[in-house]
Structure formats: structure tokens, C-alpha cells
């Protein structure tokens, strides 16, 4: 028994070392911009960079739109599949699994080919069109996570009873979805939203191949040309990811659960 616990500690300690060492080293490295002293200069330099603000703002905007579009198409689909079209469930699961099978680089390659200037829907002709395309690309990348988050949320509430109650009180399906179902799974929707945010904010391949000024492209640029700023960016990104995941876990505790325990 003692040996078992001893080995468990050894494995845990080795794992912890592998995972914490790069974070610690990166953090210390990011403080060394000024020779001989530990300062936050690299962070100040990054935050003061106008391109940082512009690209971060661009990616944030993309994330917000990707979340809105994602919720708008996934919520009704997941709701009605759970309520009336149960037999469509395998198809939904398959479709939402596809973005994990098709690597992002293939997805954007397909987009570039399908929506180029000589196609029926030439989205890549204008900056605005390309922005629309990149948001749709992000919605697609986040689809597996958004669908699972919302579907899990729907499973924890009693969709059938809530819908019946709303319908008896005279609500039409849209009203039911917006003012009954949505508030009840708001926490699940939020966790889908934060996952989408985590995916979009540092995304590189789509933005780079579509030539959009996103945060990922900026990070790549800094990484290729600077010494200390990349580590500062890595620490900032890690903090952002940690923040997004932390919020999701926190939200999970406050999720309302009205489903009957059969």
C-alpha cells in the first residue's frame, strides 16, 4: 500500500515538473528584457504596441460574432432534435464530429477554393466578405464544443415539460426558445461561448491563409522577430485560456438542473 502511494507521488511529481517547468521558465524569461534586472518591460512593450491592440480587438470581435452565429444555429437545432426529431441525433453527432476529423488547414483550403473570386459566392473578393468567411470558419471549428455544451445543457433540464408549459401559456416556439429554454441553459451556452473564445482568440491558420489581421498572425510575427515579447504573449495567452476554462468550471456549479431523475 505504501509502495503504491509512493509511486503515485513519483509519477505526479514528474508530471508536475514537466508541466510547470515550461510555464515557470517562460515567465522568468519574459521578465528578462532589461539586462540584469527582472521587469515587466516585455509585457508593457506588448500592451503598448498598436498592432497588439488592433489584432486583439479584431480577434475578439470575430469571437463575439462566432459565438452569436454559433448559438443562433446550434440552439434551435439541438432543441428541436431533442424535442421532436430524436432520430436525427446520430446525424447531428456525426456533423459536429466532422470538424475534429477534418483538420483546420483542410477546412480553410476548402473555403478558399469554394468562395474564391471566380465562384458563385465570391466572399474572398472583399475584406468584409473575408471577415464573414473567417467567422463562419470559426463557427465551424467551434461546432463540436458548442453543440456538446448546449446539448449537455438541454439534457439537464426537462425540455418536454418546459415546452408544454410554455405552449399551454400561449408561447409560440420562438418565444419558448428565447424566454424559456435559453435562460434555463444559459450557463451551458456560456461555457460553449468561452470554449469558442478560447479557440478563436489565438487561431493562426485560418487568419493567416485568409490574410486577416488577427491576433494569431500578430503573435506569429512577434515570435519570428522578437526575443522576449513572445514569452510575454505566451504567458498572457495561458492566463486567457486559464481564465476561460476557470469561468466554465465555475459556471458549471451554478447550472440549474430541472431534469427529472428517472
Amino acid at each position: 500500500m505504501i509502495a503504491r502511494r509512493f509511486w503515485a507521488w513519483v509519477v505526479f511529481a514528474l508530471g508536475a515538473a514537466y508541466f510547470l517547468l515550461p510555464l515557470l521558465a517562460t515567465f522568468i524569461f519574459s521578465l528578462q528584457m532589461r539586462r540584469g534586472r527582472l521587469t515587466f518591460d516585455a509585457y508593457l512593450s506588448v500592451f503598448a504596441d498598436a498592432r497588439f491592440q488592433a489584432t486583439f480587438g479584431y480577434s475578439l470581435t470575430c469571437a463575439v460574432f462566432a459565438i452569436i452565429v454559433g448559438v443562433a444555429i446550434v440552439l434551435p437545432a439541438a432543441y428541436f432534435v431533442r424535442l421532436r426529431l430524436q432520430w436525427l441525433r446520430p446525424l447531428m453527432e456525426f456533423i459536429t464530429l466532422l470538424p475534429l476529423i477534418v483538420p483546420p488547414i483542410i477546412l480553410v483550403f476548402g473555403h478558399i477554393r469554394m468562395f474564391n473570386s471566380s465562384s458563385i459566392l465570391p466572399l474572398t473578393n472583399s475584406a468584409f466578405g473575408t471577415d464573414v468567411l473567417i467567422v463562419c470558419g470559426y463557427v465551424t471549428l467551434a461546432l463540436p464544443y458548442m453543440y456538446r455544451a448546449i446539448d449537455t445543457g438541454l439534457r439537464t433540464i426537462d425540455v418536454g415539460t418546459l415546452t408544454e408549459a410554455a405552449t399551454i401559456l400561449g408561447a409560440n416556439p420562438i418565444r419558448t426558445m428565447v424566454s424559456v429554454i435559453f435562460p434555463n441553459i444559459f450557463v451551458a451556452v456560456l461555457s460553449g461561448a468561452f470554449l469558442t473564445f478560447a479557440i478563436v482568440i489565438g487561431e493562426f491558420v485560418l487568419a493567416s491563409l485568409l490574410n486577416r489581421p488577427a491576433f494569431g498572425v500578430y503573435m506569429q510575427n512577434v515570435g519570428a522577430n522578437r526575443a522576449y515579447e513572445p514569452s510575454a504573449l505566451a504567458i498572457v495567452s495561458f492566463a486567457l485560456t486559464w481564465g476561460a476554462m476557470g469561468v466554465i468550471q465555475l459556471l458549471d456549479r451554478f447550472a440549474p438542473k430541472t431534469a427529472r431523475k428517472d
Binding site: W7, I95, P103, M114, G202, S208, L209, M219, S237
Partner: protein, 305 residues
């Protein structure tokens, strides 16, 4: 006959509440709700991918050809697939083994409960911490001027780069990929290990089985479909990844996604048809790995409820 169908209508009706007055409208509403999702998936996921795959079989003037696939058999493309498969397989294998060891340690190793929840939360973060920042972190740690490299050299007089290590290589890339592969393994395998009921090991112990015998005859036979499934998922995960490798090595390490990236940007293979063929090759490999995952997972779910 009409009576029977009317009774059937009545008994089926109340499921959808008062709206059953017009039997068709709730179904129509449901379809209208699902339609945007289906259209979106077709327009931005299914059709672009399928048409890309199809264009691998078309030549410059629109005729069917297998020439693009045949042209993939060049040294450059073949070595790219070789390195990609090696890196993905190595990072999947070590990620699975180390992740399994860590999951076993925190779940069955009687470590304090706080450690378990910390590791699970951290795994959620680390499995999402990929791409460019991960590459930056490893450059700052074990790059040529990285902190660990420098400390080992100045304090211990040990130069890891002189002893053959290079971050911009197969080993370096595998070491970096493990940072998201191990946590992903922990996240996926932890529920499966939880599913190994305490009663089973107690029953085995009562019958005189040693711990080794328990794992050989009960633990691993139950876990292996999960292990194999997760292994193929990790493989696909690493195979499609590009940002980390690109930030780490630029285009000096010839892996398939980087080759495809360069091909899309500037036709480095000097043949536009080859891009589609390359994409087809990638999809075939990741789809194969994922099919194994799905098939095996349905098997695994028999025992672990």
C-alpha cells in the same frame, strides 16, 4: 379503418400538446429550427471538404485523373508524410502512456483529493493551450537560449544541444506536442478508470489475485478499447496540428500540414492539383484514426457505464 387511424392520431397527438390541433405545424417548426444548422454545415463544412477531395481527381482541363495522387509519390511529399506520421505516433504513444500513468496515480494512487481536481482543471487548460504560445513557451524553456538550456550549461556544465537535442527536430516537436497530448489523455481516460469498480479489484483480491494479475486479466482487458481509441484520437490530433510546429520550426521541419500550408500560400510543389491530393491524403489518415476511435469507443461503452 378510418376509426383506427383516428384513434391512433388521438393517442399520438397529445405528446405535442395543444399544438396538435394542426398536426403538421409543430413538425414544420422543428424542421425550420434544424434547417439553418444543416444548411450551415453543408455550406461551410461538408461541401467545401468534399469538393476539395473531389478536385484531387480532376486535371487542369476538368477531366478525371489519378495523376495527382500518383504525383504525390515524390521524395519531398513522402518524407513529409513519414515525419508527420512519426511525430504523431510518438506523441500519441508517449502521451497515452504518460497520461495513463498520471491518471492512475491521481485516481487509484490514493493521492489527496485536491490534487485530483487540480490536475483535472489543469488538464482542461493545458489541452487547450496549443498553437503559437505553446511553441513560444518551449523556445523560452529548452530553445537554444532557453532558461533550462542556459542553466544546465552554466550551472551544471551540460550542453543539451551538444549532446544531440534539438527543439527544432522530431524529438523537440514530440516533446512539445506532449504538452497537450498528455492532458487530453488524462481527460479522456479518467472517466474510464473511474468506471473500474472497486468491487472488481476486491473480488479479484478475495480470489487470491495479485495486483499484477488484476491488471493483466481484468483492468487492461476492460480499458484497452478505451486506450486504443484514445491513442487514435491523439494521433489525429497531432497529425492535423500546424501552428505549434510552424512557430517552432518555421518551414524547416517538413511535416504534411506545413507543406500544405506552403502549397496553399505559394504553390511550392509547382502543381495546383497536388494541393488537393495532399489534403486528400491528410483526410484519409485522420479519418482512419477517427473511425478506429468511434468503433472502439462503442465497444468500450459496454462495460463502463
Amino acid at each position: 379503418m378510418t376509426n383506427v387511424s383516428r384513434i391512433a392520431d388521438k393517442t399520438a397527438g397529445p405528446v405535442s400538446g395543444p399544438a396538435a390541433l394542426s398536426l403538421n405545424s409543430p413538425m414544420l417548426g422543428a424542421w425550420l429550427g434544424v434547417l439553418p444548422f444543416i444548411l450551415f454545415a453543408l455550406l461551410f463544412l461538408v461541401v467545401p471538404t468534399l469538393s476539395l477531395v473531389a478536385s484531387a481527381f480532376v486535371d487542369g482541363s476538368g477531366n478525371f485523373t489519378l495523376q495527382n495522387i500518383a504525383d504525390l509519390w515524390t521524395d519531398q511529399v513522402r518524407s513529409a508524410f513519414e515525419i508527420s506520421i512519426k511525430v504523431s505516433a510518438a506523441s500519441a504513444f508517449f502521451g497515452a502512456v504518460i497520461g495513463l500513468a498520471m491518471a492512475l496515480a491521481i485516481i487509484r494512487g490514493k493521492l489527496p483529493g485536491a490534487i485530483r481536481s487540480t490536475v483535472m482543471t489543469f488538464s482542461g487548460v493545458a489541452s487547450n493551450f496549443a498553437g503559437l504560445p505553446l511553441a513560444f513557451a518551449f523556445i523560452a524553456t529548452v530553445g537554444r537560449l532557453g532558461l533550462v538550456t542556459v542553466i544546465l550549461k552554466t550551472v551544471f556544465g551540460f550542453d543539451i544541444y551538444k549532446s544531440g537535442f534539438n527543439l527544432l527536430s522530431f524529438t523537440g516537436l514530440t516533446l512539445t506536442y506532449l504538452y497537450f497530448q498528455i492532458p487530453l489523455m488524462i481527460l479522456i481516460i479518467a472517466p474510464a478508470i473511474d468506471g473500474l469498480r472497486k468491487e472488481w479489484s476486491e473480488a479479484a483480491a478475495t480470489l487470491g489475485a495479485s495486483r499484477l494479475q488484476f491488471w493483466l486479466h481484468i483492468g487492461f482487458p476492460i480499458l484497452w478499447p478505451n486506450l486504443l481509441g484514445t491513442l487514435s484520437l491523439l494521433f489525429a490530433n497531432a497529425f492535423g496540428a500546424i501552428a505549434t510546429a510552424y512557430a517552432l520550426t518555421g518551414s524547416s521541419l517538413n511535416i504534411v500540414p506545413i507543406l500544405l500550408y506552403a502549397q496553399i500560400r505559394g504553390d511550392v510543389l509547382h502543381n495546383p492539383g497536388l494541393g488537393a491530393a495532399l489534403a486528400l491524403g491528410m483526410i484519409v489518415i485522420t479519418a482512419f484514426a477517427n473511425v478506429i476511435y468511434i468503433v472502439v469507443r462503442t465497444r468500450a461503452e459496454r462495460w463502463l457505464k
